[in-house]
Symmetry: C2
Subunit: 309 residues, 2 copies
């Protein structure tokens, strides 16, 4: 449940946006990418989101369908155009984003009364994102969906923080705390952990996420790899794989989709994180995001070789 | 003076927007296109407009420069992104546009105090558009620029009407009437003439435009050709040229740039309209807009052959 939009990505890497001449059109948005990543691994997935009532919205619904993601809960908003995201691709670590989500993105117009709470409750995994909490009515809708889960495993809070989406005077702390109280898994990078917990020290951030209510805290430390801490005391630390990064965008979403697959498959913590980490690494080697989400045999292959530099 | 933005155009014709996979990036916006069209014919031109403080704004300034249009009065607005326009290309006559100009386009943030009124007064042609009248502060700025001209020849009001840019409750009639009182030339298609004069009957629309204050009324009747009526009684009626239309967008802007050239060159009314008409026809045979604006020898060539079908 969350962001959905059109990514207009340069068809060249290393070229600043003002010099890019040709753009490719792709399905994008963090929640949508996670759904595609999970579908690529064989999971039955659906997305709860909204688009504009325009050709780009029609494209996104069709594209979700072609990726095997059920789009029946992706509805149209008459007033707002489908959001766009442009990026710049400067490997290995600089990928600025430019959002066209003004005055309001349709995915923030999800109303609580529109939710199919029975389906949300029944899902083996429910995934929501911090950006869905940034504005009404999607804040109330996201919290209503979380409440309907009754802390059923696996209820995942992607701490996903996009400063551009928040009103500067709006403190995300309280609503992040409420959401953490409903979730069983929290996942975020260091910046996102700092928004949610007040610290970017990985071990302390994990402790605070567990104290806030989740069973599993996953801290993505970038070049330092991933730290995952379970309430039962299990800890997994997984280093980054040595791959040649082309475009880092979408890696976190690939990680998320693969983590969902690992949780539902009943994998132990370390192999689940290791596979998620490999899924993220594979996407960084590719220009695209949604369409670049890896298949299981690709994850197997990367883990077998230990990465290629 | 007026609209400036990035056109993201399909690199294929006949494909609906939801099916387009690749987009090209071009300089766009009606006023900007007119400036480019005039520059292609050898005129010294400058644009008064604004962009976002972003890479697309940097691109537009550089592109104007490369087309020979002085961009010194194209400044940045910190709060709003550079506008985008998508189109669909269904020849011969259906070219829907999709604007990303929310919550406000930077070209509507032109303030009266920022204008270089001495330069505006000194120009041999000043061109402004109806869309510049749709919101403040650009409405006051556009009227201030018109007032500074003191009805000096040639002061052109492009009736340019984009319903998407107007607040539904805002009647354009009074401000269009004020602008017509400052202009020496009015130019528009039938829909635009109806907004400005209350009628879409070409002869009556021309009479009302003259009665509102201009010296020359130019009514673009689409497949019926162009009607131009001067206050001195001269009338020119020019039929469309038989060309194979690929993309009709930008034709009006090519017409406008060539009309400016004809007026400043002292051409008689009929040849001036005939050359403008040919410039518009040439652009319709090309996929692009700004970069497709014709050179004088291309206009000569089309007029010599009478068009190619």
């Amino acid at each position: 449940m969350g962001r959905l939009g059109v990514d207009l990505y340069p068809l060249q890497a290393g070229v600043p946006l003002d010099r890019v001449e040709r753009f490719g059109k792709f399905l994008g948005g963090s929640a949508a990418n996670v759904a595609v990543a999970a579908a690529r691994l064989g999971m039955g997935t659906a997305l709860v989101s909204r688009t504009g009532a325009d050709p780009f919205g029609a494209y996104l619904r069709r594209e979700l369908d072609s990726f095997g993601v059920d789009a029946r809960w992706v509805t149209e908003v008459a007033a707002d155009p489908t959001p766009l995201t442009f990026c710049e691709i400067f490997p290995p670590d600089d990928f600025p984003l430019y959002f066209y989500r003004q005055p309001k993105a349709p995915d923030l117009e999800i109303h609580p009364h529109e939710l199919d709470l029975a389906e949300i409750r029944a899902a083996k995994v429910f995934w929501m994102t911090g950006t869905g909490l940034c504005a009404q009515p999607s804040r109330d809708a996201t919290l209503a969906a979380l409440a309907a889960r009754s802390r059923r495993a696996h209820t995942v809070f992607d701490l996903d923080w996009r400063v551009q989406c928040w009103n500067g005077s709006d403190d995300p702390g309280p609503v992040y705390a409420t959401a953490l109280g409903h979730a069983t898994v929290a996942i975020g990078n260091l910046e996102e952990c700092e928004i949610a917990t007040g610290t970017r020290e990985p071990g302390e951030a994990a402790r605070r996420l567990l104290a806030a209510g989740v069973e599993l805290a996953v801290v993505k430390r970038g070049p330092e790899g991933v730290l995952a801490v379970h309430r039962d005391g299990t800890v997994a630390e997984v280093p980054p794989l040595p791959v040649k990064v082309l475009n880092g965008l979408g890696a976190g979403d690939a990680f998320g989709g693969a983590l969902c697959h690992g949780l539902v498959s009943g994998l132990a913590l370390e192999p689940a994180i290791r596979r998620a980490n490999a899924a993220g690494a594979l996407v960084t080697t590719r220009l695209e995001c949604s369409s670049a989400m890896p298949y299981a045999h690709e994850i197997d292959g990367l883990l077998a070789t230990g990465g290629t530099s």
